[in-house]
Symmetry: C2
Subunit: 673 residues, 2 copies
């Protein structure tokens, strides 16, 4: 049973035992010489919206992982590879090991933020049980590794050890990448190196195998699914071994040269440095971009940085759904063409949302610009969070923006209905690892030690390091339900001015910030690059109160987004809203129009979906007369099915909370006539 | 080189040598006791629109077939199965034999309509060469057949003769179906039985293998891809063997009972008799419905007929694109949900258009209602004909209604660019067989011998049989470019009244029909069930002149078709129009809006695309300012990108003719603001 915020002591998100100064125990710990604008700061989430989601993750999703990995056969496969079990390989994909690795990463971040259990604390399973599970599974992984460092159960068991014969589909380096990320997480979080040793051996093996012709390495090639690039940069960061960074850079630059057959699907149509838009399989593109950004961050490669900035903009301007979801095609899980953003067939894989957050965070650090965290916020609250049910026990692989009346669900991984686990179970442990490490995406300090930036607003504490001196800012907020955030300076250098930078969200057009005797608003505030910058000589106890206007709003799209012409969406703060069938008895949702002239009302609904704020609009139902057998008619004849006078109250719920009640239709975009 | 209409003698479409009375040499030759409303009549196409398309089919597409089947390996596979060649099986699908069978069917109809070559006639390759190719390939097929009648090269060569182990994916009965259809065509067209013998042996084998538990047959099962049902009914019609009809009926009714795992994809989710809408893989659904309608037509099964009528209506009201195209999803080639009719991702497989025409023709005969031929006309001129290039040498597998500016084409079978041949080459020979047999979808007589119905207007001759007495009506028209059709009674019974029924197209709201001293129009005409019925005692030389109003028109969709909200399409007569990039230099198509208040102009363009009528509209280009990195904005702020004042002449070409010039964007539906 998840503990409630009030009844039990809060866990400490920043584990004192593993913190080194203020450097956060999380992903993207930049190398000491990385010429990035920002460095991640530590944060903890004490109560509130994300705390609740993370509690479910900690107490339901993550603890259920080992049993699900056992029943799906992932752990069995490791035993087969180790020779400690008999039987058939389980699962139909060569990348099933990554489900284990992503779970290990999630559990590692969880161990870091949980800290040791307090005496008598009920924590089911508490850090001890979780730590034991992690140790047990790491041992399975270590046992499965071959003597030269290679590790992939599919190829060891199913393919008789044939390696690197099918880089396009084999996912061997993709698996290595997730193993490395898990190992880095485990080492950072616990200080233990059982898994890091395994990962380094694999990475060393890869470094002996892959390289340019003439490098002495036998294979000049890349993996059909990028992932190892960003992982290798993290391994460099954790170990200081420059050759891991070099290997990552080699991989990043070998895409787009036809080594995989030249298809966009595998990111092989055009080199990243020359690309003008994101394309192909969305998750592959995004992981590759995360890796390329990592390389640019550590090396200062300006051309690579420029490509990343260009592609991020191409993605957000023309290939991103309102929810932050990415990937327009089910077929080949492809990004689709510019402004091709369908609703019912939006693919918007949960993993793509996660990859987008990971990439954007790297861009935020590299550039210092707030818009990257604008997209992170939007994605976190919408396209990402919809991927897991409120109870943490079932999942969506795809995240459509519409389910039609009369929808026939195909079932399977790409169902519009929540599923307990997937045949291709990439998304659930990916959600777990992001939620478990979420505190690492919230704040930063700038490279010059001039200040602390707050990227996301939570109740908790942000802690940075300014030239060796800690600064700590605590925050209280009921965001995103309420727009007020109270910030208190807790630690600050003595009589040394520094800048507290607050992200003014891109969606926010009315706000007020009070700081001492000054009040700023949207007409008069020191905002640059999306940051409201407060340079002060701070004293402990100083307060800053941010009030972000949360009036619900109607949003329209660029007219080139054909799928939503003549429609609006309801948004409030960072939340995208949707209608669900269950709230609208007496008819479907496909015959509803919204009356945009009528006001939107806000209702606090603690009873609903774990406690949400709904937005209530006024609409009408179209009468749908029998138009014969052909649904197309003369445009001169006027609408064949005029809206009737029947007024309907439209109750919009946050998109992230959809599909937690009975099956039915859903829509984000609402026709206006 | 295709011969032109004027320079060379016209071929005779109805081959005197193989006609038996007025019964047409074509598909769907109803059994003598079939309780259908109509029976197909014979027709010939002498000049004009369809004649030109059929000439290309006869002189380019069909003659190129054998070489393409040889280079793709289909013929090689037959030799492998026969043991007369060595090597690897070619092609990655278990249904590659059907490409051969469909080509044989096409060539057979072609032989029937060509008749013997006139002395000295240049006919490249003429009937003699074509007949020799047909004989040669039939011999390959016969050689490949196993002693008990089984024939499938994939299973014989690749699967060591393992049969019926994988009915869901194996396509063994699907292949049998196409073989049977080819054999029936060959027998009807030429009177020869070399292929019919092969087909009957296979059908007899199937009849010994498949049946209900307790029937003495070892397997109670159906094929994952319906097709054999309609073929078996045709075999019954050709041979009089009732057990083929019974076997077809058995198969029709065994879908929907979980024998294939219960998925909609394979038509196994729900029995056809209980289904409320079309679903799953579009071609599978349509072939099954054609077979079911065949069974209902021959047996008088009222429940099955009722299901077919219900499903046809469910399809046309909510799951048919404006072009007649069917299948909304690339993924699983699925019908999609009601009113889910995307433009750029419309699948609209060419084979689905063909299957729709085949099914609707059976419905037209069964019921006597003209709307089925309305859909046939729409599909023929649009969704079907777009599948083949104007030169008959390249093909579209999918037929989208939009190609975006900035489209990245994936290549392969599902490309929006024409392809010389496909890896899965189902569509090209399917187009060939429909075009070669098109004359059989044009006219009918009613079961009571009361009259002749003209379903489609061509220049040529319609010939029916009224209780043993021939009636012949000749027609002259430049349809669909001009709306006038002049009909002349050539043969008629002496002083016996009969009814000439003319289909008034569903799209046509203004027309005039002159018959002797009477003139009818849309305000006053004896129209029932879509037929204008002229009952007269006719004399040779009597004339009827039909004038169908061809004013270009703007068409809107049911508002539940979200994909085209706020858009119109240009249509003229049976033709759907589209814009192509090549006609609109200086910008893309995604920033164009049409001004619906301005008139549409019609231009005859003999120079363009083999001679077309274009429709010219007035539009504007939207200015597209930089809206920042996020394409969504407050709905209150008004359009961020208002149409500029720049007026653009929009030149619309018939949809069937798109993708015959340079690659670029295309769209059927045009935003109005």
């Amino acid at each position: 049973m998840p503990r409630t915020d009030s009844a039990l002591p809060s866990p400490t998100d920043v584990s004192a035992s593993t913190e080194q100064g203020a450097a956060p125990v999380g992903p993207v710990r930049l190398g000491p010489d990385a010429p990035a604008a920002l460095r991640p700061a530590a944060a903890e989430v004490r109560t509130g919206f994300w705390h609740a989601r993370r509690e479910v993750n900690a107490h339901t999703s993550i603890p259920q992982g080992p049993a699900l990995l056992e029943s799906a056969g992932n752990l069995h496969n490791l035993r087969l590879a180790a020779g400690t079990a008999q039987g058939e390989f389980q699962g139909g994909y060569p990348f099933v090991d990554t489900d284990v690795y992503k779970w290990l990463e999630a559990a590692s971040w969880q161990l870091a933020r949980s800290g040791p259990p307090a005496d008598g604390e009920e924590n089911s399973p508490g850090p001890r049980e979780l730590a034991a599970e992690v140790e047990r599974i790491i041992a399975l992984v270590a046992d499965a590794q071959q003597s030269d460092g290679y590790l992939n159960t599919w190829f060891q068991v199913r393919k008789n050890g044939e390696r690197y014969q099918d880089l396009r589909w084999g996912h061997e380096l993709y698996c290595a990448g997730h193993l490395i990320q898990a190992a880095v997480a485990h080492h950072r979080a616990t200080g233990r190196d059982e898994l890091l040793v395994v990962a380094r051996r694999f990475a060393d093996h890869l470094d002996s195998v892959f390289g340019l012709p003439g490098s002495g390495r036998p294979i000049d090639g890349v993996d059909g699914h990028p992932e190892v690039e960003t992982a290798l940069v993290e391994l460099y960061r954790e170990t200081g071994e420059r050759r891991y960074l070099d290997l990552a850079g080699y991989f990043v630059d070998r895409y787009g040269h036809g080594l995989l057959g030249g298809e966009a699907y595998c990111q092989d149509r055009v080199p990243l440095r020359e690309a003008v838009t994101v394309e192909g399989h969305a998750v592959r593109q995004l992981y590759l971009l995360a890796g390329a950004t990592d390389v640019a961050t550590e090396t200062g490669d300006a051309e690579l940085r420029s490509a990343a900035e260009r592609l991020w903009r191409a993605m957000t301007t023309a290939k991103t759904h309102l929810t932050g979801g990415l990937g327009a095609h089910h077929d080949e899980e492809d990004f689709g063409d510019p402004f091709e953003l369908p609703n019912e067939r939006a693919y918007c894989e949960t993993c793509a949302a996660i990859a987008s957050i990971q990439w954007s965070w790297r861009m935020a650090l590299l550039t210092g610009e707030a818009r990257y965290s604008d997209l992170i916020e939007r994605t976190l609250y919408n396209g990402f969070l919809a991927g897991v049910s409120l109870d943490g026990e079932s999942w969506l692989y795809v995240n459509p923006l519409q389910v039609r009346d009369g929808h026939t669900d195909p079932g399977g991984d790409q169902s519009a209905r929540r599923t307990r686990w997937f045949r291709c179970a990439c998304c659930p442990p990916n959600v777990m690892r992001l939620l478990a490490g979420l505190q690492h995406y919230l704040s930063s300090t700038d490279a010059e030690g001039q200040g602390l930036q707050i990227h996301q607003y939570v109740t908790g504490r942000y802690r940075g390091d300014l030239d060796g001196t800690p600064v700590t800012v605590s925050a209280e907020t009921d965001y995103p339900w309420h727009g007020a955030v109270s910030l208190t300076i807790e630690e600050t250098p003595w009589e040394r001015p520094w800048t507290l930078s607050l992200r003014i969200p891109q969606w926010c057009h009315e706000y007020r910030v009070r700081c001492g005797d000054r009040t700023y608003d949207q007409t008069d505030a020191p905002v640059t690059d999306g940051w409201l910058r407060l340079e002060r000589t701070w004293a402990p106890g100083d307060q800053v109160v941010v009030e972000l206007g949360l009036e619900p709003r109607l949003t329209a799209a660029d007219p080139r987004v054909d799928a939503v012409r003549g429609c609006v969406a309801i948004e409030r703060g960072p939340l995208v809203y949707c209608l669900e069938q269950v709230d609208h008895p007496g008819g479907g949702l496909d015959d509803v129009v919204i009356d945009t002239a009528r006001p939107l009302a806000v209702r606090q609904r603690p009873d609903l979906l774990g406690g949400v704020t709904t937005v209530v609009a006024t609409g009408r139902r179209r009468a749908v007369p029998d138009t014969g057998w052909w649904p197309y008619r003369s445009a001169d004849a006027g609408p064949a099915v005029a809206p009737s006078g029947e007024s309907v109250e439209l109750t919009a719920i946050p998109y992230y909370a959809w599909a937690n009640r009975q099956d039915g239709s859903m829509r984000v975009w609402l026709p206006t006539s």
